[in-house]
Every structure is written in C-alpha cells, then in structure tokens.
C-alpha cells in the first residue's frame, strides 16, 4: 500500500473513529485503518484531530493503530462493466468478493470496482488534434446488447487531443487517448474515470419535465404519474409494499438504466432480484432485464456507515449514465435506513440532535439527494434524466415523523401506502386519497398526443367519484347502505369495481404484472363508460341490481387478467358488449 500515514487511532466507538496527530489529511479523503486496512472516509477535520467513519466492522481496532490516507476523496469508478453488476455500498463487487471470501463478507478486502483484465471493444469517435472538453464522448463500447456505453472525458478535463488509439480491444486501464492541457503535463485518458460520490456531476442545464416515466403500474401511470427526471417518495409501514412497488417499477418502467439501491434492507430481497431479473425479459428490448440494471446492496446487517454511502454511490452511477444521454431510474430502498445511519453516526460523534435524535442537517442532506434528480442537457449536448424513487419506512407507519415530513418538502410525487389496503390485500396499496403527483398537468399533453385524447377527462371523472365515495361511506357507516338512493349507491358500486378491476394489480400474475398504456386507457374508459351510462339508466328508472347482474360485469372485473398486452382487441369487444347491454337496459326504460 503506497498510502501515506496521516495519524493514529485515538478512540474507537463502533464505526466512528477519532484520529490524533493528523498531518495533511483532506476532508472526505478515503482512508485505511489498522492492520486489516479497513476502508473509511474522513468526515471531520480539526487542527490536530479528525473523525473518520469506517465502512467495515471495526472489531479489534485499537488506539494507536495507524491511519493511512489514499490521497483522494471517496469515489466510484465509472466505465464499462457496471451494468449487470452487484456492488456493496462503496462499490466493491460482491460477486468478486464471494470468490475470495465465500459465504461471508470478510473485512479488509480490496478489489477494484471494474474488472481490470476484461477487454472492451472501443470505437473512437474523435480524432487527434480536436478540441475536447469535459463530458464529451471519445467513442463508445457496446457494454450489453441494450447499452452502448459512451466513453466520456472526465468532467473537469479539457484540451487538445494529442493522440487517440485506433478501434480495438482495451482494458479499463489502457490509455485510449492523450490530452494536451494547460498544465505542463499531458493527461492520459482511459475507458474509466473516477468521480467523488458526494459531488453532483455537472451538466449544461436543467430541462423541463414533460414526459412520463411509464411504469406499467396502473395506479401510478393513470392516477399519480411521475415524469422522467422526477422525484417520488413511497412511504409505508412495514409490509405495505414499498419493495414490491419499487421492484415492479424497476422491472417494467421505460427507463434505459435502472440503479437499484438496497439500502439497509433484507438480504433475501437482493437475492430475489438477482435470481429473477436475469430471467425476465424487458418487453421493449427483448433482452434480459439484468442487462440494464445495476444493483447496490448494503443490507441491514452490513456496516451502517456503508449504508450511508450507498445512496451516493448509486446516484453518482446514475448521473454518469445520464451524462451519456440515457434515462436512468434510481430506486432507493429505503431512504429511512440511510437517514438512520446518519443519525447513528451523528450520535456517535456526539453532535446535538434535532427531532427524534436525527441531526439538524437531515433536511439539507435529503434535499441534496433529491436535487440530483432531473432531466438535463448533458455536457455532450444530449438529453438524459435521473428519476429518483425513494422508499420511506416511517416508524409505526406514522407519516408525521421527520424523514417522511422532510422528504415531502423536496419531492413532487407521493405514493402513500396504506396499512388498511395492504391488510385487505389490496395491492399495490397506494392510497388514492393521500397520494398526489405534481407532474399530472405536465403529463397530460403527452398522454393526449401519444395515447388517447380522453385520458385526462376519464381520470378526472374517476378521481371525483373516489372522493365522493369517501363522503358516502361515512353516511353508510352511520345508517347503512339502504339509506342511500340508487344513484349514490351506484357510485359505491363503481368505486368498488374500479378498485378491484383497475387499481389492484397483482405483481405475481403473468398478464397483470404490467399494463401497457393503451391497455390502461381502454380499461379506464370502459369503467367510466359503465359509470356514465349506468348512471343515466338509473336516473331513467333502472334498478341497481340489473347493472350489477349484467353479464359483461364479470368480464370487466377480469379484463386485467384476461386481456394480454400484445392483443388488446378483447377490450374493444368488452366495450362493445357493454354499450350493447346498456342500450338494451335503456330500451327497457325508454
């Protein structure tokens, strides 16, 4: 190890270590501690001392153990080989770790994040003598069938190209270009570069958010859509479906790259993704879903400080792919565990706590994280986006707690999971009353142009009914349903139908697990038609029971399971049958 010694351990308290006799360390510098070379990061600097947080179990570390500085901030390696890989919170490849240490993650393992031996076929797109600057593409590598990996100039570099290698096979450490900069020395460029995880990668400018991220989940796309580049929070008590919702979105959404961060959650959930994703086929590319996915796993039993870092590791990788002009969706499950890691570290540093023991800077940190989402014009002139979908795990399911509340200030789309819905096995348990999307109006024109002109009107109609239902249910609770006139009872009926036939979506059903947008608008329209025409019929004297007993009713209830995404003609038939049944009913009372 050629690192320099920067001090010695003074005090060990879990992952937080006080260091004495500090010489020339730099803030956020990556460090190594003790004989096992545990990885850490310097997080507080004083005249003589410093505080570091260690990303591995500190058992056995003792006072006077040496601390070495790596001379750079905690960074990730960005280059070909990330897609399809599973990393821990500080970008160590877990598969490679397993080859060394089998079942368990032993301490002090150093493995480069990107494979050093593997050769990639690089095709340059620039020539010697060209002026280039940070963020520009030098060429590309086909990383997977889906992902053409653009090789970017590190954002902080610029100059004239002295030389570029010809098209051919290179490792991430081979020099592929040489840059003449203002500095006296030339600068070598590689297929990879490093970037500090706590620093947002630069772009030209933010673009407006007006295209939805289509998730295939009806309650999301139709009721509470999120824009590409948007921010979403999914709060919910345990077992209400945060992970399931995020996995469903990760599987079916129309992003180019998925960064899935398992932050302080279960080991088996990561294993589930690892076993399932490679087998699932992305409906748009026809390729395995794993070929567009990067996994970051810092499970609940892994060191808590690496949990804190995992969020930044993930978002930095996402920004890097955005800078190549891709639409990236980041799932962070769960941001509460990250906030708790902050709290634990802050507590061990004996900082003054604010609410519920969380440090006073919690809101700032949350804001900084969600600020890294957005749709951007990249330095290379492309358009790319990072969408962040963060789960929140409020203690006791109480949304008034600090993490949920502060997150709410910085996100624009809120998918509130409801304990009662989950208990009734109404999945996804996204509450239609507590959730909202501030992107709705900006998405409407996309839906109208790309899918159906009726979308917004139908959606508004059904949302109104759902809100009316709440008031009617209050009446029913007091006096029973019989006290309501048929027109109002019909509202209850339609809402029940909408919940069963549309909002509930079974993530395990082969057909129902995702719905293309055309299927969604048609299903919605059928239910709205049932409502509108049924209401007219009742006003003209039809009895409610006739509407419920219509044969087509059962077809409507089951259409989500029976009509496949690739052949929607069945829905047109149901709609025609519905119209006919309504015509007949009307004829009876004409």
């Amino acid at each position: 190890m050629n690192d320099r010694m920067i001090g010695r351990v003074k005090r060990v308290n879990g992952p937080v270590i006080e260091v004495m006799g500090i010489t020339d360390a730099e803030m956020f510098e990556m460090v190594r501690v003790g004989k096992d070379n545990l990885i850490g990061e310097l997080i507080k600097l004083e005249t003589d001392g410093a505080v570091i947080q260690v990303y591995e179990d500190t058992t056995g570390i003792a006072p006077l153990d040496p601390v070495y500085g790596a001379g750079m901030q905690l960074s990730v390696e960005l280059g070909p080989g990330m897609v399809g890989t599973i990393y821990d919170g500080i970008q160590r490849p877990l598969e490679a770790i397993r080859e060394i240490s089998e079942i368990y993650i032993k301490r002090g393992i150093t493995i480069p994040s990107l494979n050093r031996e593997k050769k990639w076929h690089f095709a340059p797109s620039v020539k010697q003598g060209e002026h280039i600057s940070g963020g520009m593409a030098l060429g590309a590598v086909r990383e997977t069938e889906n992902v053409l990996h653009k090789i970017l100039v590190p954002p902080s570099d610029k100059g004239i190209l002295e030389s570029v290698v010809p098209e051919g096979d290179y490792t991430v450490e081979d020099v592929i270009a040489v840059l003449k900069t203002d500095a006296p020395q030339q600068k070598d460029l590689f297929l990879m570069h490093r970037w500090p995880i706590r620093v947002q990668r630069p772009t030209q400018r933010r673009l407006p958010l007006d295209v939805p991220l289509i998730t295939g989940q009806r309650v999301i796309d139709t009721l509470f859509p999120v824009a590409k580049g948007g921010t979403v929070s999914i709060p919910g008590a345990f077992g209400t479906g945060k992970t399931m919702t995020q996995q469903a979105v990760a599987k079916w959404c129309d992003a180019d790259i998925i960064v899935y961060i398992g932050c302080g959650e279960r080991g088996n959930e990561i294993t589930d993704v690892l076993t399932e994703f490679p087998k699932l086929i992305d409906p748009r590319s026809g390729r395995s879903l794993m070929e567009r996915t990067i996994l970051i796993a810092n499970t609940s039993n892994m060191p808590v400080s690496a949990r804190e870092a995992s969020i930044y590791t993930g978002i930095t990788m996402a920004e890097y792919f955005r800078d190549q002009g891709y639409h990236v969706a980041v799932m962070a499950d769960s941001t509460s565990r990250w906030a708790e890691a902050l709290r634990e570290l802050s507590g061990r540093m004996e900082e003054m706590p604010a609410e519920e023991g969380f440090p006073a800077y919690l809101p700032t940190k949350i804001a900084e994280f969600y600020e890294r989402a957005g749709s951007m014009e990249t330095l290379n002139g492309d358009c790319g986006s990072v969408t962040i979908i963060g789960a929140v795990s409020p203690p006791g399911g109480d949304f008034s707690e600090p993490v949920t509340q502060h997150t709410k200030r910085f996100i624009r789309c809120f998918w509130a999971l409801d304990r009662n819905l989950a208990n009734a096995r109404h999945y996804p348990a996204i509450s239609w009353l507590d959730s909202y999307s501030e992107y709705l109006n900006d998405m409407a024109s996309w839906w109208e142009q790309e899918v159906s002109p009726e979308w917004l009107a139908d959606r508004t109609e059904i949302m109104e009914l759902l809100h009316k239902e709440v008031r009617l249910q209050q009446v029913v609770k007091l006096v029973g349903p019989d006290a309501l006139p048929d027109t109002q009872r019909f509202i209850l009926e339609v809402c029940t139908l909408f919940k069963n036939a549309f909002l509930q979506q079974n993530a395990y059903d082969k057909i129902d697990m995702f719905s293309v947008v055309q299927k969604q608008v048609k299903m919605l329209h059928i239910i709205v038609t049932y409502w509108k025409r049924g209401y007219e019929a009742i006003k003209n004297g039809a009895v409610l029971i006739k509407l419920r007993k219509m044969k087509v009713y059962r077809d409507i209830v089951k259409m989500k399971f029976s009509i496949p995404n690739d052949n929607l003609s069945g829905l047109d038939k149901i709609e025609a049958r519905l119209e006919r049944s309504m015509d007949q009913l009307e004829a009876l009372y004409a």
Binding site: T59, P63, D65, I86, L94, R266, V304, R337, A424, G480
Partner: protein, 466 residues
Amino acid sequence: MPERENRRLLSGREYIGVDKIDGPLIFVGKTHPVGYRELIECVDKQGNVRLGIVLESSTDIVVVQVFEGTSGLTLPDTRIRFSGKPLTISVSKEMLGRVFNGLGRPIDGGPPQRSDIELDVNGMAINPTARQYPRDFIQTGISVIDGMNTLIRGQKLPIFSGNGLPHNELAAQIARQAKIRGTNTEFAVVFAAMGVKHDVARFFTRSFEESGVLENVALFLSLADDPSIERLITPRTALTLAEHLAFNEDMHVLVIMTDMTNYCESLREISTIRGEIPSRKGYPGYLYSDLAELYERSGMIKGYKGSITSLPILTMPNDDISHPIPDLSGYITEGQIVFEREMDGRGIFPPVAGLPSLSRLMKDGIGEGMTREDHPHLASQLFAAYSYVKDVRNLASVIGEEELTPLDHNYLEFGKEFEQKFVSQRKDEDRSIEQTLDLGWEVLRTLPAEELHRITDEEIEKFYGK
C-alpha cells in the same frame, strides 16, 4: 510492525483495580491499546471469573460491558484481563441434546463442551450473492400458517404476541410438527431463552421430551433471574451454533428465540447507562441494525445443504404493534404471525389475526408442484373475504345485524366458519396441506360464487363446486 507485536504480548495482561462501575459497565483507565469488541475476563475478590466485551476503547479509557453483571464488584479489587480477541464459542454437533447458559457454558451438569471449532459469536454479514432464495414449503400442520402465512425453509418469521397469549404453545407445536413433505429430514432445534421465566423453559423442554426430539435440541437459557445483560449475547451464541449446524454440518435448523422484547430492553438499558441519544421510547437508534444482525443470520446458502429458519417470539408491549420492538422487527423479518387478544378471548387457538399476519416468502413456495395449484388464489380470496367480514362486523355493530343486506349476512357466516373451522384447531392437530386447502374451500362455500373475484372460473369449477 512493533504495534502488532506489542499487542500480542500485552493481551493477557491483567489490570488490578478499575476506575468506575456503572450498572453492567466498567471503566478502566491507563491500559495498553485495547481492541474494540475484545473479549475480557473480569475477576472479583473471590476469584470468580465473569466475561465481558469492550464497548469503547480510547487512549484514556476503556469501557467494558460485563455479561454476568457487576454485582459484588469493588473498584480496587476487581481485576480485568484483556484477551486480544473477540468473544468466541466452541461449537459442535454434540451440543444438541444439551443445555447451556447464555454464554454457551453447559448448565446441565454434563461435561464442558470441547471442540476444535471456535467461532466469533458476532458472526459476519452474509454476502447477498451467496444466498439461495428460500422456496421450500414447510408444512407446520397449522391451517392458518400453511394456508395463508406459509412458512418457508430459511425464512425468518416472528410471532408477535402479547403477555399471556399462547405463543409458546404455537412455537412448540410448529417445532414438533414442522416437516418438508416428501423428505424425512428432521429439524434440529436451537432454542434461545432471554429473560423468560423458568416455567417457560420447562414447558419447552417437556414438549421436546414428550415428542422424543430432545436429543435434537440445544437450549441456551438466560432466564429472568440471570443478569439482564447476558441476554444480549444469548441469541448470538445460539445463532453461532445454528450457523455451524446448518453450514458446516448440513442440517436444517429451526431457531426459536424468546422473548425478543426482553433482549431489546437489555439493549435499552445499556444504551441509557452510556448516555446515548435515544430515538423512540428510549430505545437506541441502532436497535434496527442490532436486530438485523440477529434476524439476517437465517437463510439458505448456494451450494450448502443446510438452512436456518427462525421463529423469534416477541410480546408486544400493550399489544401495540407500532411499538418500536415489533415495528422494527417487522421491518426486518420476512413477515409476521400476529396474535389477537380478542380471538384468544373467544377461545380460538391459534389466535392468529387474519389481516396483519403475512408471510412474504410464501409466493414462491406455494402453488402447483409445491402445495397445490389452487393455493395462491384461495389464500388471496380468504384474505379478501375476511377483510370484508371485518368491515361488515363494524357496520353491524353500528346499525345492527338486522339492517345488513343478505350478502353481508353471508359474509358474517363466512367469518364465523373461517375462524372456527379453518383457523381454530387443537394443539396436537397436525393437518396436511390438502386438508387445510379443502377446509378453505369448505368455508368459502358460505359465499356465492360471484363474490369470488380472485378465483378463476376453472378453479370455481374444480374446487368450489365440489
């Protein structure tokens, strides 16, 4: 390196006299550099040895936590020996059939436990890529579990109970009846008792004895009258043996840990004494991570034959599921079996609340080829219908049963049948999965077929119509 050499020489050095004793914590000044979480021995005036570990180490002072408590210790006469290594226990298959204290020392009068394999009780995090996703159905013979909250081999499924509810009976019944169908592999049981009374330990011992499996059970007892701090190490010792049995000896291990609430309270005690900033209800902010270190030790590993399935039992203070202990557990475990006092009052055993109970791993372990093809939809329909029953009961309590619609009356009937025929069973009743599923259809027949939205037409034809 001189430091390393020094430490090896210095470890084992004994310090006479300590600076401060506060509850289970001892503060020792002016030591050699002592490692974080190092094992120590604390010797009192009479020469009795107690074990402890280092909670914090600095150049000025070392904070040590003594598992057997600090009662009777004095400042000048207490001697502390640092071992230079973490707390380990020696493990072997021969530990089955024996009884130990929380630190893994035999208390059954038998010979001391010896083995060449010494393992750190803290374990290490399992690499997620090494895990095998659990999907083997365990038949417990209990309908409400097998049918609706299926237990899977390698799962961690806690029982959320309350004081005085029959969680011990259910856990013992599961331990007696659990089997993987079509195999005759038996489960070895590792039982960890934290702060429970003697009669609880006796109840389990007797239950294992009666079913003739005692030689397949290792008990780690840290009972109510043992020092509370010992409870912090008890589950770790037990899980360390479980890991050895599962991953070195190819055994399928069922770990029963009771009562996790007592464990958490000991953790709170230490945290308070150390003056840490609490999060909710005085529990330390790291309670989640600490529990995860225990619960996440269950599972299956690729390429290994054994498994660890765990059934932690916890009593919800005040029957409140949002209390930090059940709440944080629920955020870590793969579902939960929740008891309801009201059902117990009505004489239903097991008093498993239908709606808040959940098994997250059941999806991959049930259905065709594993249990029966109708299982997934049947379970989902039972949940949906029972949830509607709860609404109808609420409504009936306001407007009176007479005012209900005929359909709602059907649902009330369904609710009754469901609780009395399906959920309720004898404490020695071992139902096969087929019996359970058939019972499920039987109670569903109280509802008209049009109400069964979650069941396909074919299934209605084949199972409901029978």
